[in-house]
């Protein structure tokens, strides 16, 4: 299929999410759409898939102008989409998910599952995508679920496949497998639109790269372009992709976890016997695919989730099952995973958010009344020091950009007298410039001789920051390794295929 987008424009109120975007995808081509979070990639894809209607511009399929009332129509016209958040019903079987909306039926409107299963077997054989049609989706690993999404699109006879940030939840090996599938689909004549913000992947797979920034196409590039060229096009200025670090000189153990068991909301042991040490002057990065217990581990450390068994020690104090206030008083700084839910009160001002975990403390309060002058002075100081872009300290934090919201949290945590910093996915959803900034702040904190635990599912971030890397899989530490190891061996640890405890 030859797809042409001509001058697509989509506005949300005063925000122009897509501004006159034009892209052409040739049959059998892997066309990569590169842009930062918030650049308008997902909006564009939702327009193309019939989930949103463009305010202006047109979509041409094989030269014919087309409009889609809903995504069912887009599917019927041969467009398939693999969403970033999988659009699969977790309690349904593979077969039920694949046929949903396009069911073959028998008498009395009954779904013909026999035919459905046969069709799936045929398509999975044709494209070499092996899946058990009777398996329940939620029992499948993420990589296989993604395969089901691809299979779903193909069995509806998709000629153009949109892959929206498909690698975000995959291990490096699963990413390799996905790329293999993409190549073979392209070889079979399918067009592929690959949306990502990861430079390495683009270079590895794309035939053509279109870069968008702030809703506009800013240019195209060849896959042979260097990563820093691509990054500067994406960001609009030169960026430093590596963080400068002082040589590693670890001190005493500051933080210690022993045999920790923590349950998730469903009562399952999400953290199942984890032991870790973090020393002064060290960043320990905790790598792993999302959902392997990292979230629960961090919540347990921060006092936000009960510990079933095991101990957490910070600077000699036992903080197991202590309240968040006690944990903070013991010298823990916490940059939470979901900054808008757990890091900030969105309806409060920047100044108030900057004292959110010390509001009762002098000089911000005295005899039960707040000292607003001190709060304000603190805000002015931190806004300057951490380069927070805000109109005034009295601005609501919800009106700041994601990067600046994160800077508010980083400023608040790092300006306290910390013994230990826990940062969970500290740069998720941030633009490259903010990522650079947050990384520098954390490395500075470490260079001053402090300890930090950084939880990240982005391997680039792990390698940029870590002095040691621990990998978490299925609630356990599958290995603790030196950052000099290859991405492949980290990938194997992330997938749980090997476990090792290589002490440094």
């Amino acid at each position: 299929m030859r797809l042409e987008l001509r001058a697509i424009t989509k506005r949300f109120g005063s925000l122009v999410a897509n501004d006159q975007i034009s892209i052409t995808v040739e049959p059998g081509q892997i066309h990569s759409l590169l842009g930062e979070n918030g650049a308008g990639k997902s909006t564009l894809m939702n327009v193309l898939f019939g989930l949103l209607h463009p305010d202006d511009g047109e979509i041409l399929i094989d030269g014919v102008p087309t409009t889609f009332e809903n995504s069912g129509e887009a599917v019927r016209r041969g467009i398939g989409m693999v969403h970033q958040h999988f659009m699969l019903v977790p309690v349904f079987t593979v077969a039920e998910n694949v046929v949903l909306g396009f069911e073959p039926t028998k008498s009395f409107n009954r779904v013909d599952y026999q035919k459905a299963t046969d069709d799936i077997r045929r398509v999975s054989k044709e494209f070499n995508l092996e899946v058990d049609p009777d398996a329940i989706i939620e029992s499948l690993p993420v990589g296989i679920q993604q395969r089901v999404e691809i299979l779903k699109a193909l069995s509806h006879d998709a000629q153009l496949l949109i892959l929206d940030e498909p690698t975000a939840v995959l291990t490096p090996q699963e990413i390799d497998a996905l790329m293999e599938i993409m190549r073979s689909l392209a070889a079979a004549g399918k067009s592929i639109l690959f949306i990502t913000h990861k430079l390495k992947e683009v270079k590895a797979i794309a035939d053509v790269i279109t870069i968008i920034r702030q809703g506009k196409v800013v240019g195209t590039a060849e896959p042979s372009a260097s990563e820093s060229e691509l990054a500067s096009m994406m960001v609009g200025r030169d960026v430093v992709l590596t963080v400068q670090k002082e040589p590693f000189s670890p001190g005493e153990d500051v933080f210690e976890i022993r045999d920790l068991v923590v349950r998730d909301d469903r009562g399952l042991a999400a953290v199942n016997g984890v032991s870790l040490d973090v020393r002064a002057g060290e960043i320990l990065a905790l790598a792993g695919v999302q959902g392997n217990g990292q979230t629960e581990l961090v919540e347990a450390i921060a006092g936000m989730r009960p510990v079933e068994s095991g101990t957490i020690t910070l600077n000699g104090h036992d903080i197991t099952n202590a309240s968040p206030r006690k944990v903070l008083d013991a010298g823990l700084g916490h940059i939470p995973e979901d900054r808008q839910r757990n890091g900030l009160v969105m309806s409060m001002t920047v100044a108030d958010n900057l004292v959110l975990n010390t509001p009762r403390r002098a000089p911000f309060a005295k005899r039960g009344t707040r000292n607003l002058a001190a709060v304000n002075a603190n805000a002015v100081r931190l806004i300057n020091e951490f380069d927070i872009r805000t109109e005034s300290p009295q601005e609501l934090v919800s009106s700041l950009s994601g990067g600046n919201q994160q800077k508010v949290i980083v400023a608040r945590e790092l300006s306290r007298d910390l013994k230990f910093l826990v940062a969970s996915q500290p740069t998720r959803g941030l633009d490259v410039g903010s990522i650079e900034y947050v990384h520098r702040q954390m490395v500075n904190h470490r260079n001053l001789g402090n300890a930090a635990l950084v939880v990240s599912s982005e391997l680039d971030e792990v390698f940029a920051l870590a002095d040691r890397i621990a990998v978490m899989y299925a609630g356990k530490i599958s290995g603790v390794v030196d950052p000099s190891v290859s991405r492949e061996s980290i990938g194997l640890l992330m997938a749980g295929t090997i476990t090792e405890t290589a002490h440094d």
Binding site: F86, V89, V111
Partner: protein
């Protein structure tokens, strides 16, 4: 752009039942001990309980079964010990499945022991026997009403909308059903009237929660409250001065030839009103529609993951409208059925059956067959709470009236977090 959480499949293997299973097992053991001590050893050693089986109305019983006489004390001690054993088994083995099924068995055993104890002779009761067939017939009427309600809740919740307004739809159906039945003397028209009343209330719920995304629980409660006052007002203004619009609406029994002559089973299952048979058909139709048809697959997809349904072109809001309106209509018929089993409309006489129906749906794990089983248990318990006074037992009517609700609390509390509601149940759908 956040990343979808990806549960690691191996975590399932490390599952260990939570304290909740243990609490349920302890409740079971306590019930068992209570049964053995109070109902068993609390009865005089010489006391007997008699069970009779011949229905009071002999028209359909060309058979006669003798009475079964049991020693109250030892029968109840045995029932109590069985309950304790079931509780102990759950406590020790902590099975992952079937805990609530066992709890259902325990509830039935407890009710049976209570009945034997209440009817013991010599004892305080004037009635020295339990007519098993009469108890089953009485319970089946309540169960029928509950099943209509549970099916209504199920239709709505499978599509992702919580229908807590079942009680209101009962009341609406009962009111209009009574007026139409009194004026036309035609129960078919009465059922249609009740259906329309229930469907309109369903439409109101759907409109507010789907168009304006109002909290579904609040809308539901508001509808119930509004309808109960409205029906009281209309009752006072219309039905009290003109009693001819609200009288003599007892639905006739339609015995099925031959089958109705089977001992016990016949009078309970095959000598019922048309509403009862309609309920049986409905259970089958809804089971088939939800789990075999294309329509059902769409409904369940919308209830579990509306965005996934939307991406394949299913109109989420339309599916929800259809199901909520259908659910309302079903509850409306339930209201007519209730009215037809009582003979007329009275304000407030549904007394919370709609909420028990919702609990039966949860107990039945959002499945029609489960809802039927749960409704039978709740039906038995509601019937007994209303009829045990006849045995002049030393428990006040009001306390007995609490009985079904206590079971409801235990069941629902025991089930939350244990059975899984449809993924998007009660969550408004925003198109984005």
């Amino acid at each position: 752009m956040s990343i979808a959480p990806a549960p690691a499949p191996t975590q399932v293997a490390t599952f260990r039942p939570s304290g909740r299973t243990r609490i349920i097992s302890i409740i079971m053991i306590v019930i068992g001990l209570l049964t053995a001590l109070v109902f068993g050893l609390g009865s005089a050693a010489s006391a007997h309980s008699s069970l009779t089986f011949t229905p009071i109305n002999l028209a359909n019983a060309p058979w006669h079964l003798g009475r079964l006489t049991l020693l109250t004390r030892w029968t109840n001690v045995i029932l109590g010990l069985i309950t304790v054993a079931l509780g102990a088994e759950v406590f020790l083995r902590q099975p992952r499945r079937g805990v609530m099924v066992r709890f259902g068995v325990v509830a039935v055993l407890f009710l049976l022991a209570l009945l034997l104890w209440a009817s013991r002779a010599p004892g305080p009761s004037q009635v020295g026997y339990v007519n098993v067939t009469a108890v089953l017939i009485g319970s089946s009427e309540v169960a029928m009403v509950l099943i209509f309600g549970a099916l209504s809740g199920l239709m709505c919740e499978r599509s992702g909308v919580v229908n807590i307004a079942i009680e209101g739809q009962y009341i609406g159906g009962a009111f209009f059903g009574s007026v139409i039945a009194s004026t036309t003397h035609d129960f078919f028209l009465a059922a249609i009237a009740g259906m329309v009343a229930g469907a309109l209330l369903g439409l109101l719920l759907a409109f507010l929660s789907l168009r304006y995304l109002v909290d579904q629980i609040i809308v539901g409660v508001v509808i119930v409250t509004m309808i109960s006052y409205l029906s009281s007002y209309l009752n006072l203004q219309v039905l009290t001065p003109y009693p001819q619009y609200n009288t003599g609406n007892l639905a006739p029994n339609l015995p099925i030839p031959l089958l109705s002559k089977i001992p016990i089973i016949g009078p309970v299952f095959f000598n019922q009103s048309a509403f009862f048979y309609l309920m049986l058909v409905l259970v089958g139709v809804i089971s088939f529609a939800l789990f075999k048809t294309r329509y059902g697959l769409h409904v369940r997809a919308v209830g579990e993951h509306p965005h996934a349904a939307a991406t394949v072109g299913i109109n989420v809001v339309r599916v929800r409208y259809i199901n909520v309106v259908l659910g309302g209509a079903i509850a409306g018929i339930g209201g007519v059925a209730f009215m037809a089993s009582q003979g007329q409309f009275q304000p407030g006489y549904t007394s919370g059956l709609g909420y028990i129906a919702l609990a039966a749906m949860i107990f039945g794990r959002w499945r029609p067959s489960g809802a039927v089983a749960a409704s039978v248990i709740f039906g038995l318990s509601v019937y007994l709470s209303e009829n045990l006074q006849a045995y002049s037992i030393p428990i006040s009517t009001e306390i007995l009236g609490m009985f079904p609700y206590i079971i409801t609390i235990v069941v629902v509390a025991g089930l939350i977090g244990r059975v899984r509601a449809p993924g998007a149940d009660g969550i408004p759908y925003r198109h984005d």
